[in-house]
């Protein structure tokens, strides 16, 4: 489920933990409790997290493959086209000599594959996004160092500020705090 837009008030609720295991546990509990629109924040990737959040997206690998295929095609096509557009005899080689063409084909395959992978990753993550409500949360700057956060967003059907807050408290976090909206509703 996508995050709500930044003008919702409150944007959601945030619970802070001091250990990765707690966060993983908390995420599992929240999903058992039926929460779907939630996210976790950690200073480094946690192996268990994708499964815990129920993520099973393979978009990035597919993009990589697509990029690779496109790159290879571009590379080989480019060489075929240019040699056809302006045929020039060189070194006694045939105009279309596949052997030497392979190298550039390979290079462009790699280039495109990597390009697609990384660009795709950024796009799917909606990055760059310099401004986000969670940044306003107390201590959130430690999400990049040594603290672990769980956020339940307001667009979750089961989201109800007091109940959800109470639920989060039941997970024994260091702190539960509302995420303030950062933009005025229009």
């Amino acid at each position: 489920m996508r995050e709500p837009s930044a003008d919702r008030q409150p944007f959601g609720l945030m619970a802070e933990f001091c250990a990765p295991e707690q966060l993983v546990h908390a995420v599992r509990r929240s999903r058992e409790a039926g929460y779907r629109s939630l996210d976790a924040y950690s200073p480094y990737p946690l192996e268990e997290m994708p499964q815990a959040l129920g993520m099973n997206g393979n978009a990035v690998p597919w993009l990589c493959l697509a990029g690779g295929v496109l790159g290879a095609a571009t590379g080989y096509g480019l060489q075929l086209f240019t040699n056809d557009a302006y045929p020039i005899a060189t070194g006694g080689r045939p105009l279309f000599a596949w052997q030497p063409f392979m190298l550039i084909t390979f290079e462009l395959m790699v280039l495109f594959a990597v390009g697609f992978t990384i660009a795709g990753m950024l796009v799917l993550n909606h990055l760059p996004r310099l401004h986000h409500p969670v940044f306003a949360v107390t201590d959130f700057h430690r999400a990049s160092a040594d603290r672990f956060f769980l956020a339940i967003f307001c667009n979750d059907p089961r989201f109800e500020i007091t109940q959800t807050a109470a639920f989060l408290q039941s997970l024994e976090p260091l702190r539960v705090e509302a995420i303030q909206s950062t933009e005025e509703p229009e």
Partner: protein, 443 residues
Amino acid sequence: MSETASDTRITAEITRIPLHYPHMRNWWLLFGFSLVLLGCFFVAAGALFLNGVGMWGNNIPVNWGLAISNYVWFLGIGHAGTLISALLLITNARWRNSLNRFAEAMTLFAVVCAGLYPILHLGRPWLFYWMAPYPNTMTLYPQFKSPLSWDFFAVLTYLTVSLLFWYIGIVPDLASVRDRAKTRRAQVLYGLAALGWRGSARHWARWQQAYRLTAAIAVPLVVSVHSEISLLFAAGPIPGWTSTVFPPYFVMGAAFSGFAVVLMIAVTLRHALSLRDIVTERHLDLLARFLLTTGLMTAYGYVYEVFDALYGGQKQDLATLHDRFTGLYAYSYWGAVIFNFVPLQLLWFRGIRARPAVLFLIATSVVVGMWYERYMLLMTALYRDYLVSSWGEYHASLWEWLLFAGMIGVFLAPFLLFVRFLPVISAFEVKEALRETGDLSHA
């Protein structure tokens, strides 16, 4: 101590470097020095553009001189970063995390130096872009059957991929620096660079996929790139070049010289930025083992080359071989053999591998040795090719040496800026590794 406590410490230790750098005086001294070298670069390049390649010692038959041998040398060095980072990532060797960041940075700047050389050595450098296929009124395109076209694409791809790989690797740490930054300016700058990374689990998941895929692709790329560089020589019909051993030979040599430089940098940074408990002795030990291994592989290349010539039995090849041992440039052959492989043997001893200073010296000798090798491969083949009548000698002119010094500056200056302003070690990966292994020296 609790994990999070060590997380805190690691974060602090690494992010403190860009935010308030420890030894500013030494840094300025070094940076000033590298700026002087950079100045040499602009002087040498300027004079070159003004007057032409004639400023150098090149001639017929030695069309290529220092420029091209340095090109191969720099590019070789530039192979370790991505190789270490990617290869060790997909083989799940956690200890890489303390090294990969600066290794990759080193790669980037080395490749930039390498890329500049072929352009400078052109007769008409201002037309270098004719190497690229772009639509033009003459509908004239590059000649894709030429090893130079291959190199052009290889180096370009390698540079781009290395840059992207390095960048997405550093983004989370930039975020971490952003969050620690006190001044507004720092917050804004690092914030922009961090792309608003907030450590979301969903982001991490896709990030990891992308990072691992890139790594997996980068490994064959590294191999392909230096193989293609070797074809720049192997594809020509010149005795001493036309050998099938060249691609693997070059790749091994590249990794060898690259690891040497990584080792040098590791020892230096470890000492300069007092990162002893992040770049531990075990890291140095592992690097040393890698150096030894790749060194022995390169040595095999030497042996095979001799065997190749003897087995082929072509009069010309034998002449070139003999010339390498005894000819005008024999010093470069023996220089390569001695600097590359003699001190290297010390690495068999654990005691030695535990002594950073000694490791640094050995690595330096390897870097020098590999420079000799590149020079030797170029010279011994070119200055005496087929026809006795066209033999000629090559002596690099002062301008070429000046340019070489300048290139060191081109490498050093940005690298020092990187050390000064960016997290030189991948903090989050160290932490991640720490969580899994629970021991820093394994991290």
